[in-house]
Amino acid sequence: MSCDHDQQRRQFLARGAALTAAVSIAPGLMLYDFARARPPGEAANPAVRWGMLIDTTQCESGCDACVSACNKENGLSGRTLPTDSQWIRKLELQQEDTGRKISMPMMCQHCAEPPCVDVCPTGASFKRADGIVLVDKHRCIGCRYCMMACPYKARSFVHEPVTDHSGATPRGQGTVESCTLCVHRVDQGVAPACVEACAREGHQAILFGNLNDPNSAIAQRIRSVASVKLRADLNLDPGISFVGI
């Protein structure tokens, strides 16, 4: 009897621990919602549109966890000379009339109508079926027209020979590069490095997911809070939205 009671107690503790773990991990998991990882060789799903909702009220000034994580993931030096690549950066904003201060990450906005893709002479700049805007490093001739065309200053030109290939993304001198939305992770069902780093810091400022799935956390949140897209006047339909601007 006592043994049976003890077993029940153990089961209760185990279930309780599992439930506690689920409750604590769930917000992290809810940051992105994948149906499944994409098998190699399978084309990107046009029914999906990956996007982000950035809550500037949760983004802490001075925190650059997202930037560091991106640099580490993609093998960027982290240097900030005008000739160095920065795929994601922190903007420190101050409203001109009220003086209100905002901190937020800035990266490729993965537009539905990307000007970089329109202007690229060789088609090296392209948009995947699931909305991720990328550069084909084998096709880029380094003309930098996409950098002229991008309203978000999202792209960097590799000004020097690349010696450190530790990152997951191919890079090459003389070509243009930008945030890939960590496409290599997304295809494996893992959230982008910046999203994970932000959650790890406890800020939860970046929500990532499928904008086309009405049941996804990001779609539900976008329906329930006021958000804006940057330079909405240009009608480029960016995949990244912001709360608190």
């Binding site: 900030t80 000379l81 005008p82 000739t83 160095d84 690549s85 920065q86 950066r89 922190k90 903007l91 420190e92 904003l93 101050q94 409203q95 001109e96 009339d97 905002i102 800035m106 000007p115 893709v117 329109d118 202007v119 690229c120 002479p121 060789t122 088609g123 090296a124 096709r139 880029c140 001739i141 380094g142 003309c143 930098r144 027209y145 950098m147 002229m148 065309a149 991008c150 309203p151 978000y152 200053k153 792209r155 960097s156 030109f157 590799v158 000004h159 020097e160 020979p161 001198q173 003389g174 070509t175 243009v176 940057l230 330079r231 240009l234 601007i245």
Partner: protein, 396 residues
């Protein structure tokens, strides 16, 4: 006596010029090789000012390559004999300038070794890709036109060929203007005024180059240009300079009317340091007003005045392009309107740009290609404008 002496040593001058031109070309090629080996980090360009001095040179040459054909068009399309006598030289200058400009543009690419990719992968929505066709087409159409001018059996075709060149170059310069006009991102560009501005700039700069080369050729051969022809050509240059000034003024005045553009205009016109100085001093005063005085002031307007005016128009051209291309990029992007912004990536800050010796060398190398092509071309081909003294002067 002097004539005989110069004729004897003239060949030496020719080779001296040729060697000088080739040295400049070699310098450009070496600079490009260095930029490819070490990356664009050895240039002054960066992630904010992504197109630098080489683009100023390249666009100057490509725009001028189109404009210099104006002389040929007036001759062939509108049947003016004075201009038709100059059409072969105009065609040669056009091909030379286009070759120089394209060389600079291609060697400034991050991956010039992949230029074949640009020819084999074609994005139809890119105005850059259209321009690949337009530039190659200009080589073909001007080549065809020169053929009809030089082969007497083809003489009847020179008018349609000239018309084809006329249409092609107008479309080509429209395409060059559209490279900037299609850029919604930056405040300096995204204006439908740019294609017509580029076309009229091409007329002025192309004619200025033509007049300089014509002066050099006539001096070299110790000939005097017919004063009536001189007068007509200088008046035409003056008209083009005024037209460019008008469109540039319209561009800035319309911008000043839009409150969202006022900060940018203040930067270019008042507080932009080098850009402001180049705009007013380089373009407006030296590149426009002084040439107009040299052309139209009573007592001036002689051959040397026109030569100086033409040279100053080119000084103005470089100044205007530098302000337009580099000043336009130096002004920060307006990503979050209503906020001041700071970041590690230069957001909200005026970008600094200082061209390095590699960029100067590459740009000059393009001019060198044009110079060598013209020097050899006029030597081996009879392209000196021959004015028929019996030909009555047409009305203006």
């Amino acid at each position: 006596m002097h004539h005989k002496t110069f004729a004897q040593i003239e060949i030496r001058y020719f080779y001296l010029l040729l060697v000088l031109g080739l040295v400049v070309v070699l310098g450009g090629l070496l600079a490009a090789q260095q930029m490819e080996a070490h990356g664009h980090v050895i240039s002054g360009m960066n992630n904010q000012v992504v197109w630098g001095l080489p683009h100023v040179f390249a666009i100057f040459m490509i725009v001028s390559a189109s404009g210099v054909l104006n002389v040929a068009s007036v001759g062939s399309v509108f049947g003016r004999h004075v201009y038709k006598a100059r059409a072969p030289l105009a065609g040669l200058l056009s091909l030379a300038l286009l070759a120089g400009g394209l060389m600079v543009l291609m060697l400034d690419l991050g991956r010039p070794d992949r230029v074949i990719v640009a020819a084999t992968n074609y994005n139809p929505t890119s105005v850059f890709a259209w321009n690949v066709l337009l530039y190659s087409g200009l080589f073909a159409t001007v080549g065809l036109y020169l053929w009809t001018l030089m082969d007497r059996t083809m003489g009847g075709w020179s008018k349609p060929a000239g018309f084809l060149v006329f249409i092609w170059r107008i479309i080509l310069t429209t395409g060059t203007g559209l490279i900037f006009a299609f850029l919604v991102a930056r405040q300096a560009y995204a204006s439908a005024l740019l294609p017509p501005l580029f076309i009229i700039m091409s007329f002025a700069w192309g004619l200025a180059i033509f007049l300089i080369v014509q002066f050099a050729m006539f001096s070299w051969n110790e000939l005097q240009l017919n004063p009536a022809i001189q007068k007509r050509l200088k008046n035409l240059l003056g008209l083009f300079v005024v037209s460019v000034l008008y469109l540039v003024a319209t561009y800035h005045l319309t911008n000043l009317y839009f409150s969202r553009q006022v900060a940018f205009e203040r930067f270019i016109l008042a507080h932009g340091g080098l850009y402001t100085a180049l705009f007013w001093g380089g373009y407006v005063v030296l590149g426009s007003i002084v040439p107009l005085l040299l052309i139209f002031m009573p007592g001036l307007g002689q051959a040397r005045c026109v030569l100086l005016a033409s040279l100053l128009v080119l000084v103005g051209a470089f100044s205007l392009l530098y302000v337009f291309i580099i000043g336009g990029q130096a002004f920060p992007l307006l990503i979050v309107p209503g906020y001041t912004v700071h970041s590690s990536f230069g957001d909200g800050q005026l970008a600094s740009y200082a061209p390095t010796v590699f960029e100067w060398a590459l740009g000059a190398g393009g001019l060198g290609v044009a110079f060598v092509t013209v020097t050899v071309g006029v030597r081996i081909l009879n392209f000196l404008p021959h004015d028929d003294p019996r030909q009555p002067m047409e009305g203006n």
